[in-house]
Subunit: 195 residues, 2 copies
DNA sequence: TTTATTCTTGACTAAATGGTCTGAAAAAGA
DNA sequence: TCTTTTTCAGACCATTTAGTCAAGAATAAA
């Protein structure tokens, strides 16, 4: 009973990532949001709650999606180095794609709000520890499989570094439009795994 | 002739870095600025111009100061690896210091504004190329001095990576309060220079 | 003293802000 | 048909925004 929603809530959420990613949380006005999402003001409030609620939903949705993909790739049997290489190449590819890169920048806006929105701070703390653990377990497996040399004596540090590097690529993309710079950064980042 | 300024303009600029760094450019209201700087509204406009003018001044002042220190350290004769290690350890030290870290976060707010303030975009483009070149020249010297192995066959990429890593540390600091995480990231980052 | 500059305080404005409320049309199931 | 829900449009509101103007007091050089 009752009329159905006319818009796909996750599609609209994706548009919200783009708007928030481009203008930041505070830099995005309600009007920009309405224009960007293509829905009426009341629909926004009915569906997502306040501007802050929508922002939090968008951040969580984006992060969960990306993190899940990373964890899945890390857990797949086979070469761990190949998995990590895939993960970083995929990020670089997304950031080089004129369309796909837009939503990635919500990460930057989200990190902005970490000191001011406790829910976001808690969420990222949880996400970071989850990802760090996934990288760590993968590295342990890599070591057992003989993919790492004795040079890599601190797998915990390496896991933290990889997760940080993953996050930081969007910052690099915001500072340069040259795809070669991005490739160079990824290349050297991955060289931390070389023997 | 005429009354002298009662406040040190660069000291106040430093306070502006802290306020803008904590709340972001859009998240900072004029009232926050007045409270944080401890000067009257009219003094702000007389001395720095608009809010945006003040922001740009703060960003440039901070960046120039940091960049100059890095270039100076890189140009000093002796071990290049030691210089780079020093540079990163200094950043980590600043980010771990309860007081000093505050102004560092203006970097994050500045990067936020890159797509919206052409003057900031141009400034960072210039700063990045200057720093990249400084790192590159230092790496060439390192190679000549026998500090690098044949593994490091792309010094341009390495230079870009180092400059990016420098920038990205403030992002890492925003996401974690654990100083060990920061140390781990620096440690692995620097391992890119190992043979 | 005269003149020029800076200081502080406070009033003021025009615009934009996020958010609420109302009302009516549209659509879908009971 | 009746009920429920969604959608859109627009009015509305209290608050906040960045920025300006004015006026008087303080200070310092000419």
């Amino acid at each position: 009973m009752g009329r159905n929603k006319e818009f796909d809530t996750t599609v609209v959420l994706r548009k919200a990532m783009e708007v928030f990613g481009h203008y930041g949380y505070e830099g995005t006005s309600l009007q920009m949001l309405l224009d960007g999402l293509g829905i009426a003001r009341q629909s926004l409030y009915d569906t997502y709650g306040t501007k802050k609620d929508l922002f939090i939903s968008a951040v969580k949705h984006y992060t969960n999606e990306k993190s899940a993909a990373v964890v899945t790739r890390l857990d797949r049997p086979g070469s761990v180095k190949a998995a990590i290489t895939d993960i970083f190449r995929e990020i670089a590819a997304a950031l080089k794609d004129e369309v796909r890169r837009k939503e990635c920048f919500i990460m930057h806006s989200a990190i902005d709000q970490v000191p001011h929105v406790p829910e976001i701070a808690a969420f990222f703390e949880q996400d970071a520890s989850r990802l760090e653990e996934a990288f760590y377990q993968a590295l342990v497996r890599a070591y057992k499989q003989g993919e790492l040399s004795d040079r890599h004596n601190d797998l915990r540090a390496l896991a933290r570094y990889l997760n940080h590097s993953r996050y930081s690529l969007t910052q690099a993309a915001k500072l340069t439009s040259d795809p070669k710079v991005l490739d160079d950064i990824v290349k050297v980042t991955l060289s931390a795994l070389d023997s």
